[in-house]
């Protein structure tokens, strides 16, 4: 199966993974135990930008491009 180029991946899907997934080997500079804060911060940023866009377009710059619609099979 073809892989969508990285630019086309939905930002929301990517943030799910890079902020809530990934191995946690806490850096000594990172917002140490602030994993939850990171997610909160990012979602707040997203929401702010979504309402700022105030348009019908996908808020994440191509949210649907990388998501393969799964057609219902006939029969």
């Amino acid at each position: 199966m073809d892989h969508a180029p990285a630019e086309r991946i939905s930002l929301v899907d990517l943030l799910d993974r890079v902020l809530a997934g990934g191995v946690v080997v806490t850096g000594d500079i990172t917002l140490s135990v602030a994993d939850v804060d990171l997610v909160t911060i990012s979602l707040r940023a997203l929401l702010a930008s979504v309402s700022a866009l105030a348009g019908p377009a996908a808020p994440t710059g191509g949210a649907d491009d990388s998501a393969h619609q799964v057609p219902a099979r006939r029969g």
Binding site: G22, G27, P71
Partner: protein, 266 residues
């Protein structure tokens, strides 16, 4: 004088052979490798003026900055994952030096080695399930309205139009509630079905409609860990599930590097 720098972490591998192709990381930095506790770590040197704790906290509030960094982080991980098994690092794992990283990683080496064994040769697929838009499916007719009594028209047996309206509205709300709870149950059934194909599964909170940009609510936001060469079996299973549940809309994303299966659920 050079600016103070920190060490940004992309991914960890126990693969030691072979040269890393040139890769560009966050903020245009050059990706290099560092070693610690028998592990190879893909890192790059970032300016603390941009990535230090204070600056980072501010920059993460900036969506454009966050997006650029998240995509750059992902591109390095994805390129590396094509070459050898990797454990992606969570975004914004930054150390003051290679030595500081080695110390922290050393203490977690057992966990990291075990996680690498678990994800080796495997990839992640994402499945998001939404309720299908109303106009894409038949509206269930509530039993109380199916009996040709003309209940919807407010003309029956001297009932006022207002009462008929209220009855009709109540029936609609009940139907909507029942339809949502049966869609949720169906989404759960899809999840159980897909989980049987996967070595592991993980649920993320459903994305809000505002974030996902869809008209209907997301019912399931799941990730599945699958054999890298077993992708077509899984995609057919997803297509079969979509066919079995016309009341749902399924979206498949991937394959992803195994972000969701590093054993650090939180």
């Amino acid at each position: 004088m050079t600016d103070r720098q920190g060490v940004w972490t992309y991914a960890i591998t126990d693969y030691s052979g072979g040269e890393l192709p040139p890769l560009t990381g966050v903020a245009g930095t050059k990706v290099r490798t560092a070693t610690a506790a028998g592990l190879t770590v893909l890192v790059s040197d970032v300016a603390l003026a941009e990535f230090g704790e204070v600056a980072l906290r501010r920059n993460l509030e900036n969506l454009a900055w966050l997006e650029e960094v998240a995509r750059a982080h992902h591109q390095v991980i994805e390129a590396a994952a094509r070459l050898f098994p990797v454990l992606p690092a969570r975004l914004a794992t930054i150390y003051s030096s290679d030595a500081a990283m080695a110390a922290v990683l050393g203490a977690r080496a057992g966990h990291v080695h075990a996680a690498l064994r678990r994800v080796g040769g495997r990839v992640e697929w994402g499945v998001k399930v939404y309720a299908a838009p109303e106009d894409d499916r038949r509206e269930p007719v509530p039993a109380s309205m199916a009996g040709g009594e003309g209940a919807g028209r407010g003309t029956g047996r001297g009932e006022g139009a207002g009462l008929a309206y209220l009855k009709r509205r109540r029936a609609q709300l009940t139907a909507a509630r029942e339809s949502r709870s049966s869609a949720l149950a169906a989404a759960q059934a899809v999840h159980s079905r897909l989980s049987r194909h996967a070595a592991q599964a993980r649920l993320y909170p459903p994305q809000s409609a505002q974030l996902s940009g869809t008209r209907t609510p997301m019912l399931l936001n799941a990730a599945y860990l699958l054999e890298a060469n077993g992708g077509s079996g899984f995609t057919s299973a997803v297509a079969d599930a979509a066919a079995a549940h016309p009341e749902l809309r399924l979206e498949l994303t991937g394959p992803w590097p195994p972000y969701s299966f590093t054993g650090d659920d939180s």
